[in-house]
Amino acid sequence: MSIIEEKKGVSNVKVVTANEAVALAVKCAKVDVVGAYPISPQTSIMEYLTKYIETENLSMEIVRVESEHSAMAVAMGAASVGARAFTATASQGLLYMAEMVYWVGGSRLPVVMAITSRAMGAPWILGNEHTDVLLPREWGWMVLFPEHNQEVFDTIIQAYRIADKTLIPVVVGLDGFILSHTTMPISIPDQSVIDSFIPKDVPKPYALNTSNPFTHGNAVHSNVYLEFRYDIFRTIEESEDLVDQVDKEWEKLTGRSYGGVIEEYLLDDAEVAIVVIGASSGDAKQAAKNVREKYGIKAGVIRLRSIRPFPVKRLSQIASKLKAIGVFDRNMSPGLGGMIATEVKFALYDLKDKPIVQSYIGGLGGKDVRIVDFEKIFTELKEIVDGRIGVQRVRWVGLDLAAVDSYFEEV
């Protein structure tokens, strides 16, 4: 297995859940302050952090608060004075935190937050879904989405580098339960490698300072608000190259690269491809391999690592060579389509030779999506290309309305 091979700068291998990978990364990033409020499936991140503080005598401060709203307020306060800040949440917790998430984005503070993805009520639900992770993409945050535990660790470290550079806070999403509670081996680089990659003694022009007093987020009139929002837009738009570059620099130090904004899989000669994020990408890749062998379909996978910045440039380059793209969304925009599908269509609309884009929605609330489901998507995309079936606004994966007959009542 490649990740347990001896690599430059690699000092040890641990077998951990993705939540522990997050906690280890936060420890290695020498975070100063953590705002902590428990919610499944994120809770064990905070449990691991408190364990490290207790057993390893870290100087990290964990502030236990009465709500997620205050957890983010703690992170904001800490970042405001130049401390390295972190918090984590999921689902309902993110919704309750939302106001402060928006404040941190608007104040341009380099906070990093892990969101362990989970569907939202009603009805009450614990299962995995990506809608929560995607929400802050409209709130002035960058959103990165790793595929497996090693990449979760690496992406938290990269997130601090990106946040410190752009002064845009960063969400790192990870699949609830599928990753958060599943163990895999990860390599942890030497502390010196991490220290050099995300130094803490960087300029902090945003840090409050009594000898040169200023504040964040004071009231303004409508003559400048648009300009503040524009500058967040511009910075995130321009960060597409930065995410690539940070990934390359990380590769130089650790030997691990994930393709920057997009991981490309079997795309060189591909006709059809699936756009996918997170842990399901592994199943999509296996399915691409399978349909190539079984049916001779030239299939590939476009794994978006970065949702904000949305990789418009790279996606356009890739898409112009394809005939059809199926976007698999484990989320939805009610009545319209998958959230990522709508963004993919927006990004590709101006291309001269654009591929057909078919939105797929499935896996909501943790419903299982398997390799065979991705194989079916590939065969459908091939049928669309051959003109045997048409494009629908949305094709549903695993939708079984008969199964919920007894839960619905016609009125």
Partner: protein, 83 residues
């Protein structure tokens, strides 16, 4: 990459003359006033002038007319008057 951050430096009336928002204004009756400066302490917008002898007056350029001062005055020396 060019990086900009929004900063707000301390200044008087950073969002303009907020007195324009007012629909009623506090008026101090100096005969009744006992110079306790409770109104000055409670004003959420620091728009009450406090003079050396602890007499007070209202900064109408910025007072939003919330009425906290009139409510807190222990001797009812501040009256809210339609503006």
């Amino acid at each position: 990459m060019r990086v900009l951050i929004p900063k707000s430096k301390p200044s008087k009336g950073a969002v303009g003359k907020t007195g324009l928002w007012r629909t009623s204004k506090p008026v101090v009756n100096h005969d009744k006033c006992i110079k306790c400066v409770i109104c000055w302490a409670f004003c959420p917008e620091t728009t009450i002038f406090r003079f050396q002898d602890n007499s007070v007056d209202i900064d109408y350029e910025y007072c939003k007319g919330c009425g906290v001062c009139a409510n807190e005055c222990p001797v009812n020396a501040i009256e809210m008057v339609e503006d």
